[in-house]
């Protein structure tokens, strides 16, 4: 659901200070503007790495630390011989710390482990899936990002007028609906029951790419856009309102500048920061949303890969994909924060 589809209610790493932009403001320093930025970036990167490291611990514990994965994989009545063999293969006989380090060491070197279901390296298995999901996310993002920025900004500019009120209700409804509900309803509406104009599943012939079935991409993309845009549009609106009510914009108005100049010269640059945040949020939520949406449309990406991995108790696949998606989240947030700081003159001076 556009919880930020299973996404974070906030995508950045620091807790938001109420009333201000969701960036940690630093006290003004007397040093030149360049080095504080690098310092800031450096700190952010370190923070990101720390969180990634903690995330890896959580993923590891959730999969290998809880219960006995060997038993889970082999099911009930696994024989002692087969359990022993699988445990050796997964290095489960060693202490937890060693297992963890082995796994992380592998990840760092690009060794994502071997899929238990397919008996193939995980990397080979997910190669095409990553491409497919990336394509889907980029197309959906290409639509939802400008859309959410446009809707949010316009609603803020025309606050409490017809458009804003209408959008407020529409975005509320769609933000509340779970993504797969949106997807299934679209399928019922356009593919199977009410109308029959679009296919209910995406069919990517083996060896081909998702661009070979453009018709089959319409509904998944539409679902993703509908799942993510309303949520982010609301955030954009809130940010835009804040910018429009901010001191410096008031100042510009008091100076007697025409409204258009106020908006373009003073409001917009400061709205860029939140905009970047919105872009990052969009992409992050999309990355989360594909997990369920790919299943609805039988789309062969990392979302359905994760789902199948969980269904098959294929621990290495689940671990690899979880780290991939989490890593993506963290990187996107990092980029958003850094870009925001760089782009917002006001904040830069406060570094």
């Amino acid at each position: 659901m556009a919880s930020g589809p299973s996404g974070s209610a906030s995508a950045e790493l620091t807790t938001p200070t109420p009333g201000g932009p969701a960036i940690q403001a630093r006290p003004v320093s007397s040093a030149p503007a360049v080095s504080p930025i690098w310092g800031f970036i450096g700190r952010r990167i370190l923070l990101g790495i720390l969180v990634l490291f903690l995330v890896s611990i959580v993923v590891f514990l959730a999969t290998q630390g809880l219960g006995d994965p060997a038993r889970a994989i082999l099911g009930r009545s696994a024989t002692p011989a087969s359990l022993a063999a699988l445990r050796a293969q997964l290095h489960l006989d060693r202490p937890l710390i060693v297992q963890y380090l082995t796994w992380v060491g592998g990840l760092v070197h690009g060794d994502l482990g071997t899929s238990l279901a397919a008996q193939e390296p995980v990397a080979t298995l997910i190669k095409d899936k990553v491409v497919n999901s990336a394509f889907l996310v980029l197309i959906a993002g290409g639509i939802s990002i400008p859309l959410s920025i446009a809707i949010g900004s316009y609603a803020a500019l025309r606050r409490d007028k017809a458009f804003d009120v209408a959008m407020s209700l529409i975005t509320l409804v769609f933000a509340a609906l779970p993504e797969f509900v949106v997807g299934v309803l679209l399928v019922v509406l356009f593919a199977t029951t009410v109308l029959h104009v679009l296919p209910a599943v995406t069919l990517i012939p083996p060896g081909a790419g998702p661009w070979d079935d453009l018709q089959g991409l319409v509904l998944p993309v539409l679902t993703l856009v509908l799942a993510v845009t309303p949520y982010v549009a609301r955030i954009m609106r809130a940010s835009m309102i804040e910018v429009l009510e901010s001191d410096y914009v008031e100042m510009a108005r008091l100076k007697g500048l025409p409204e258009r100049v106020v908006i373009i010269r003073h409001a917009l640059p400061n709205a860029l920061g939140p905009t970047f945040q919105v872009i990052a949020l969009n992409l992050a939520y999309l990355a989360g949303g594909i997990i369920v949406i790919e299943y609805v449309f039988n789309y062969g990406g990392i979302g359905s890969g994760l789902r199948d991995g969980v269904f098959n108790h294929d621990i290495p696949v689940v671990q690899a994909l979880a780290m991939l998606i989490a890593g993506l989240y963290i990187v996107l947030n990092l980029l958003a924060d850094v870009a925001t700081i760089l782009v917002t003159p006001k904040l830069r001076t406060r570094l």
Binding site: P69, V173, S239, Y329
Partner: protein, 299 residues
Amino acid sequence: MSVYNPLATNEPPLVQPRKPSGVLRNALTLGRTRVGLALLVLVAGVAVFGPLFAPHGPQDYLGLLPNKGPAPGALFGTDHIGQDVWSRFLDGGREILFLALASTILGLAIGIAIGLFAAYTKGATDDVLMRGMDVILAFPSIMLALVVIATLGPSYWLIILAVGLTNIPRAARVTRAAAQPIVERDFVGAAEAIGVPRWKILFGEILPNVLSPLMVEGSLRLTYSIGLIAAIAFLGFTPNPNGADWGVMIQENYIALSVQPWGVVLPVLAIALLTMATGMIGDGIARAAAGIDRLRSAE
């Protein structure tokens, strides 16, 4: 920016303590709250009381073939193995409602406690707690739930735990943000001076003053939890494979969607209306709270 509460309008945070009852009363004057409440009563009513009215058991064999449309004895036709869609629909809401409520309450309880504690304690403890929250927030919620299910398989307590876990950081953040200004207030300092124990301050002095944003957050959490629980069932992970559950119904009848839509349409509409309802109610409360703020700051 109210990133932590995106379903609300952008208003400055609450500084004045307010009566929750006042907020609620105001909320009910709004159209959207009323519609939401009506929908909630309708869907929750079906979920809770539905089983009493089901004409058949959820797994009864009716002598009919599977995936057939409405027929005598089967108001909305049969499902993928010939069971009565209508009866299964009436039975299918309880499980989702129960799981969603349980995980919401769990997440709220722990999240609020953490948020209060972090806001009050400040300093290093605050940082550590919030870092911990960041870690949980670094996953899409559904993924966290799936990762946990990967090893242990789906069971009721595990699902409640996993979904509750995803609720914790969000509730914590909201609580912390709302509590921070309160912590600075005189009456808190006074209580400390008297020697009131910390937990009493947290839950006796601070908590009552942050109830409004928490009510909003609560309805938000409930909305997300319902969606998440339904999604997990839809993906095929359920502790009760043959039981009636709206999310599972959508999944098992999806393949027959083109010939027998009711097995999917009924549960999916129910989930849609339910989440819309809780979302509207939350939005109504948020507006009411913000509205009171606007009034007060205008005085």
